[in-house]
């Protein structure tokens, strides 16, 4: 057999073998590899390269070595999924770098980070002032996770004491002019409903690029023709406005009437409408 043919056969064989065996190493993305993973990947690559170039005198020895370098990390990986001690050994532990706004310099040194590295990692997390950090952990992958101080954290509805309505995901019911029946059934709706809604909006299915239904059954449309604009549903806002108007009406009636019984009735009604508006505002008013 000529030499080039040997090399071709070997390289193809090793290629297939490595392709198959590296599957054993788990599914973590390359960015999350630890130093150990990285070392074993390099060793595997080196052995595979040497084998396919026929640099190893004995093929069997090379294959054994390759097998061990793939099997051992795979075994360690499998064990690490099961046992915490193995996990700590294999993946390393996270290191607390900042605790209660104090930078733990000995830990930093232990992790092999210079202060400049540390500041750089903070900047990658959009923190330019180390005094803004309440707590920071160096993950085994070398990434820094930062918990900013309370007053530096982003504002959420909870901070503001605003009640928000729970909302499920909107479903895409028309794509490229085709009705997605599966999404419709997931919402408990059908084609009839959709066609009625489209009739109301005055558009045909063929002209619609995307249509989505939100959790309360509002239909949002986008047409192929970008020069046309479709009215977006305002039913929520309108319902809220109607309720507010009725509440104001009741107060007006209460002022207008001279009959005491009717007056209290109107006042009570206005008050309970006010409660209803308060409860529905997070859902309807946006």
């Amino acid at each position: 057999m000529p030499e080039w043919l040997t090399i071709t056969v070997r390289a193809a064989g090793i290629f297939a073998l490595v392709l198959f065996l590296t599957r054993l190493l788990g599914k973590r993305p390359v960015t999350r590899l630890t130093l150990f993973d990285f070392t074993s990947v390099i060793v595997i690559g080196f052995i595979a390269g040497a084998l396919s170039l026929d640099l190893v005198p004995n093929l069997a020895n090379g294959l054994i070595s390759l097998g061990i370098w793939i099997l051992f990390p795979a075994l360690l990986y499998a064990l690490s999924l099961k046992f915490k001690a193995v996990r700590d050994l294999y993946q390393g532990k996270e290191t607390v770098i900042v605790n209660h706004c104090r930078v733990l310099d000995d830990k930093l040194l232990e992790a092999g980070l210079t202060p400049e590295d540390f500041l750089g990692l903070l900047r990658q997390k959009n923190v330019f002032n180390f005094a803004d950090v309440e707590f920071a952990v160096l993950e085994p992958t070398g990434e820094l996770s930062v918990l900013p101080k309370k007053e530096q954290q982003s504002l959420t509805p909870k901070n503001m004491g605003i009640k928000v309505a729970e909302e499920s995901v909107p479903q895409t019911v028309i794509l490229d002019g085709n009705i997605m029946d599966e999404a419709l059934t997931a919402m408990g709706l059908n084609r009839n409903w959709l066609l009625t809604e489209l009739d109301k909006a005055g558009v045909a299915v063929e002209n619609i690029f995307i249509a989505q239904v939100d959790s309360t059954g509002q239909l949002y449309l986008d047409l192929f023709d970008d020069s046309l604009s479709t009215p977006q549903p305002t039913i929520r806002e309108m319902t809220l406005a109607t309720l507010k108007k009725c509440q104001a009406d009741c107060e007006l009636f209460a002022l207008g009437t001279r009959e005491p019984k009717a007056k209290t009735m109107y006042q009570e009604t206005a008050a309970s409408l006010n409660d209803i508006i308060g409860e529905l505002e997070p859902l309807l008013g946006r």
Partner: protein, 68 residues
């Protein structure tokens, strides 16, 4: 416009709002939100009932405007 017809208009608006809430509740999948919509629609029903009673009284007082 008489008071009776104004009150009737308000009742009609309230009925419209209740219907919208009920439609939303029937489509909504999240149990908490659905319950919120349902209970508020029920509260509206009570209010509508009371207002309708009042409409009845007003019509008795001013029979010449009844049915408007």
């Amino acid at each position: 416009m008489t008071v009776a017809s104004q009150v009737k208009q308000t009742v009609a608006s309230l009925k419209g709002a209740r219907a919208t809430l009920e439609i939303m509740a029937s489509i909504e999948k999240t149990p908490a939100t659905r319950e919120l919509l349902r209970s508020n629609a029920d509260k509206l029903s009570l209010i509508i009932k009371r207002m309708e009673q009042r409409v009845g009284e007003l019509e008795r007082e001013e029979p010449q405007y009844s049915g408007l």
